[in-house]
């Protein structure tokens, strides 16, 4: 006769519940939403764009110290949605891993390899009791020499997939519904279309017009595959283009 809920520990550490679920992993997903921020990523024909909210909760805070957009290497970007502290740990380890890869193998770590490494590390936390899963969903973007623009999303359960477009955070599902409609017929977006699709998706799910200081935008473009964050002026240009278009 089966005993029941594993002595009540199945909610505290990553062991199976009677239904075969991992509650700690599910709670980690909730922690990602609890951060209150939504991020969006869109992959175009020759570029990838990620947009994330920049919420400054207190006027006394220095806004430049708040960011969810990180350069893991010169060529790879990472958007970490969820608990800020967990995000910093993840980025620090990812930067280390990418640098070691470059030193060991003599070429830049590709986006999918980094995504797989992050996902494998997350899987370890779901199987070993000594470390809890991280409350972060990571989106990795880069331009791959062979296949072109790449966008990967890694979650606390250790899953990772390549995406044509995706979202993470509080309004994840609404954003995915919006993006599914836009990407239905496999459009090949230009750079401007990619950025504007990402920004307008965020505006749509937040149901408000955004100011350039309220969002962060990161891009990689095929001709110049360096990951960079757009300046407030550049973001403003795109916002203006979107409002004129509508």
């Amino acid at each position: 006769m089966s005993r029941g809920s594993g002595g009540g520990y199945d909610r505290h550490i990553t062991i199976f519940s009677p239904e075969g679920r991992l509650f700690q992993v599910e709670y980690a997903f909730k922690a990602v939403k609890a951060a209150g921020v939504t991020s969006i990523g869109v992959r175009g024909k020759d570029s990838v764009c990620v947009v994330t909210q920049k919420k400054v909760p207190d006027k006394l805070l220095d806004p430049s110290s708040i960011t969810h957009l990180f350069a893991v290497t010169k060529y790879l970007g990472l958007v970490a949605t969820g608990t800020t502290a967990d995000a910093r740990t993840l980025v620090q380890q990812a930067r280390n891993e990418a640098a070691e890869f470059r030193h060991k193998y003599g070429y830049e770590m590709p986006a999918d390899t980094l995504a797989r490494w992050i996902a494998d590390k997350s899987q370890v936390y779901t199987q070993h009791a000594y470390m809890r899963p991280l409350g972060v969903v990571a989106m990795v973007l880069g331009i791959d020499d062979e296949v072109g623009p790449q966008l990967f999303k890694c979650d606390p359960a250790g899953h990772f997939f390549g995406h044509k477009a995706t979202s993470a955070g509080l309004k994840e599902q609404e954003a995915i519904n919006f993006l599914e409609k836009k990407m239905k017929n496999d459009p090949a977006f230009t750079y401007e279309e990619t950025v504007q699709t990402a920004i307008s998706a965020l505006q749509s799910v937040l149901q408000e017009d955004l100011k350039a200081t309220e969002i962060e935008v990161g891009v990689v473009v095929k001709g110049n595959p360096i990951f960079r964050a757009l300046s407030t002026d550049e973001i403003d240009e795109h916002l203006t283009a979107i409002s004129e278009r509508d």
């Binding site: 089966s2 199987q127 070993h128 009791a129 250790g158 899953h159 997939f161 390549g162 995706t166 995915i176």
Partner: protein, 235 residues
Amino acid sequence: MGDSQYSFSLTTFSPSGKLVQIEHALTAVGSGQTSLGIKAANGVVIATEKKLPSILVDETSVQKIQILTPNIGVVYSGMGPDSRVLVRKSRKQAEQYNRLYKEAIPVTQLVRETAAVMQEFTQSGGVRPFGVSLLVAGYDDKGPQLYQVDPSGSYFSWKASAMGKNVSNAKTFLEKRYTDDMELDDAVHTAILTLKEGFEGQISGKNIEIGIIGADKQFRVLTPAEIEDYLQEVE
């Protein structure tokens, strides 16, 4: 293998003598996507559903059926991230065997070592069992072979087997259709028909995966186009 703070096993006996964590792991497998394998007279086929969470996911970035050695492939039902760990460990074990003995690892030995890893995680400190069952398909000197390995670490050789959501219907279907003298092509058709039985939605080359190994002893995953050809033959 034992985590520093947790020098005690998380999988322990219940008063009735059961290892409940393993039972829960099997439940996790049972809620995974259906997969199956069929051993033919001249080869083995393994197949699985490949249902992705959204149309936004790039299906070319996902491959559930993995190659372990040139003549051994594997498919799983259950938790994808756990399967990646086992695939990595199995590949390493196969390569270490090759390095030591200068020959390809026999299928039975690779299965045994993989199963041993899965058993370790049911007994070591601070870890939980793997939430996957594996179907290992290989062709070596002993001919075509199909093994199923469960979260407990127990494994059996099968003529045909299924795992995941639709396991009981699939196994009933396979029991009716299986013959000992099946050819590999027939086995592929039967595999497709079995998947079709419980498939929600329209089956296509993009939402199932098929891996085969024949007398050439080369395991390979079929392309979506090849799957479409087989699907049309089945119609």
